[in-house]
Symmetry: C2
Subunit: 331 residues, 2 copies
C-alpha cells in the first residue's frame, strides 16, 4: 500500500505546467492522536488553487515540496479521533494524494448516501459562492439586470439561475456558441454573449439598455472593463476572484474604467466564501430546495485518475470544463 | 458694461492649456422671466472641471463655444424672480464670466455676512465631500487607520481631520516636505508621506502595520495601487474622483492590485457629493461646529482676476494650490 502524491516543484510561471509538480510515491501515513486517515475518492479542481501555489493569499502559499492543496472528499479508513468511524465520508483540504492524515477539525462529515457530485458541486463551495456572492454582496432586487462572466462555469451558471429565481434578468458571458446555447436554452438565461466571437461591449450596450445593475465577475480583464463601462447608476460589481489573473505570471492590467464607480456611485466588492461557513445551512437548504424543484440545473465534469491532476486543473483555465470540475481518484 | 467670458475652444488633450479656451467680451445678459442676473465675485476651481470640459460625465459635457462651467458665488444685480433681492449673495454654477443670467432654481442664497472663503470651502462642496465620503461611504470606527491621498488638498486635509475627530489614526500622502509638515504639525495628522521623495509602499508598510482600514482616494494611479497592496481585512476604498485621470488625455492604467479586494474582502466605492444635497444641513452643522471648536482647520488659496481662470485651474493639477483654490474676480 503506497500513497501517491503530487508535490509542488516550483511556483508556476504563466499557465500551470506538468513540470510545476512532481509525482511521487511514499508510505501511507499513520494518523497521529486526534487525526483521521482518509482514503481520498474525489478531488475538487478550483481556480483558487492556482493562487495557492503561486504565493501567499488568504491562505499561506503551498511550500515547494509540499503536497498540492486541494479540496476533496474521502472515506475514513483509520479514525484516530472521537466522532469518526470507518466508512464515514468526509470533506476537507485533503490534497493531491491517495491518502491524507487529517486533523479531525479540518473535516466535515457528509450525510450518508449524499452523492459526491452534489455535495462537491451545487451544495458545496460553488453553490455557496454563487448564493452568498450574488445575494449578500450583490443584493439584487427583482427587475434588475445581472450580468455574469464565466457564465458557463460551475459558479457562474448557478449565479445566473439564482438571479432568475430572484426575478432578475440574467445575461451570461461565456466562450463559444455551445456554452451560450446551453445557458439560454437549458438554464433559462435571458441572453448570452460569446466573448470569443462577439464584441462584448457592443452586445452589453444592446442587451442592457438601462445598464448593468450587478456584474458578477469570475474572470477580470477586458470583460470587467466592458461591464464597468456599462454600469448602471448604483451598480455593484461582485468580485469572485479572477481566473485571468490567477493564471498569469504577471497580474493583468487593472480595470481602467474603474473611475466609472465614481460617476455611477458604484460599488466593487470582493468576498471569500469561507467567511460564510457559519451560514452554510441557510445556503444548502435553499439550494437543495431549488434543485428538487428543478429550478437549479448543474453539470459536473468528472475526469479520472490522480495522475491527471495537473491536466485536470488546467482544464479550468483553458475553458474546457463543462460544469464543476471534479477528479475521481478512487471508487 | 461688458461681460468677459471664457469659452471652451476645444477639448483638452493632456494638461489644460490656455489655448483650450477663448477669452471674449460680450454684452451683459438681460435676465429672462424667472431668472436672476448675478455679478460673479468668486469662482471655485475644482478638479472635476477638467472632466466637465473633456466629455460627458455625471453632467453633460460643456459644448465647444459654451462658457466654461464653474461653481461660484455672486451678488444679485437684477432679480427677475420672486424671493431674490438686489445685493443677495448666491451660490451656483455661474461659469467663468463676470455676469450670469441664472435660473433661480439653480441658485442658493447665503446667509448675510457669511465669508465666501468659508461658504465656498469648509462649509461648501469640499467640506460635504469630506464629511459624507469619509463617514457615509468609508464608515470609520474609532481606532481604525485612515489613509488619504491628495492630503494637503482642500478635501483631503478635511478628511484627515474628521478621521481624527472620529478617533481614527490619520495618515496623509502629499507632495513635498512643506505640505507634509503642515499636515502633521498644524492639522494633527499622525503621519504624512511625501510621495515625491519617499517610497509610498514601504512607508505604508511601516506606518500601517495592521493595514489600511480606509483609503480615501483623491488621486488614483500608483498611490491607489500601493494602498490596495496594504489593505486591511474588510478595508474600504472611497473613490473621490481621480485627479490623475482627469488630467490625462488617455485614462491611466487601472489599479492592478484590485484583486486584493477579494482576498481582503474589501470594498471600493465611488460617490458624488451632489447626491447628499438633501442632507447638507447635517454636514454644515457638524462642520461649522468643528471649525468653531478649533478642531477643523483649513486654508484657502485665493488667486485674482477672471483673466487668470485657466492658469488657476491648472494649479490644482500642478499641485500648487495650498488649500481650497478660489479665484476672486470682483470685490
Amino acid at each position: 500500500m503506497k500513497n501517491r502524491q503530487w508535490l509542488l516543484a516550483r511556483r508556476p510561471d504563466g499557465p500551470v505546467k506538468d513540470d510545476d509538480f512532481t509525482f511521487v510515491e511514499t508510505d501511507v501515513p499513520a494518523p497521529g492522536e486526534g487525526e483521521v486517515l482518509v482514503r481520498n475518492l474525489m478531488l475538487s479542481c478550483d481556480p483558487t488553487q492556482r493562487a495557492w501555489i503561486a504565493g501567499d493569499t488568504y491562505l499561506p502559499a503551498v511550500k515547494i515540496g509540499e503536497v498540492v492543496r486541494s479540496f476533496g472528499a474521502g472515506r475514513v479508513e483509520k479514525p484516530n479521533s472521537p466522532g469518526f468511524q470507518v466508512g464515514d465520508v468526509v470533506l476537507g483540504l485533503v490534497g493531491w494524494q491517495d491518502y491524507a492524515a487529517m486533523k479531525s477539525s479540518g473535516l466535515n462529515k457528509l450525510p450518508a448516501g449524499t452523492p459526491l457530485e452534489l455535495a462537491m458541486g451545487v451544495l458545496g463551495m460553488i453553490g455557496m459562492t454563487a448564493y452568498f456572492g450574488l445575494l449578500d454582496v450583490g443584493r439584487p432586487a427583482a427587475g434588475e439586470t445581472v450580468v455574469v462572466s464565466g457564465a458557463a462555469g460551475a459558479t457562474g451558471s448557478l449565479v445566473g439561475q439564482i438571479a432568475k429565481i430572484k426575478g432578475c434578468r440574467a445575461i451570461g458571458v461565456a466562450g463559444g456558441p455551445e456554452k451560450c446555447r446551453w445557458l439560454v436554452d437549458e438554464l433559462g438565461f435571458d441572453a448570452a454573449i460569446d466573448y470569443k466571437s462577439e464584441d462584448v461591449k457592443a452586445r452589453l450596450r444592446e442587451l442592457c439598455p438601462k445598464g448593468i445593475d450587478i456584474f458578477f465577475d469570475n474572470v477580470g480583464g477586458p470583460i470587467l472593463d466592458a461591464a464597468l463601462a456599462r454600469l448602471a447608476m448604483r451598480g455593484r460589481i461582485v468580485l469572485c476572484g479572477g481566473i485571468s489573473a490567477y493564471d498569469a505570471a504577471e497580474p493583468p492590467p487593472g480595470p481602467k474604467n474603474y473611475l466609472n464607480l465614481v460617476s455611477k456611485r458604484g460599488r466593487m466588492e470582493g468576498f471569500l466564501v469561507f467567511d460564510y461557513a457559519p451560514r452554510a445551512a441557510e445556503a444548502i437548504g435553499a439550494l437543495a430546495g431549488w434543485v428538487r424543484e428543478g429550478k437549479l440545473k448543474y453539470r459536473v465534469d468528472v475526469q479520472h485518475g490522480l495522475e491527471n491532476a495537473p491536466a485536470t486543473l488546467r482544464r479550468l483555465f483553458e475553458g474546457k470544463n463543462e460544469g464543476k470540475q471534479l477528479l475521481r481518484i478512487a471508487e
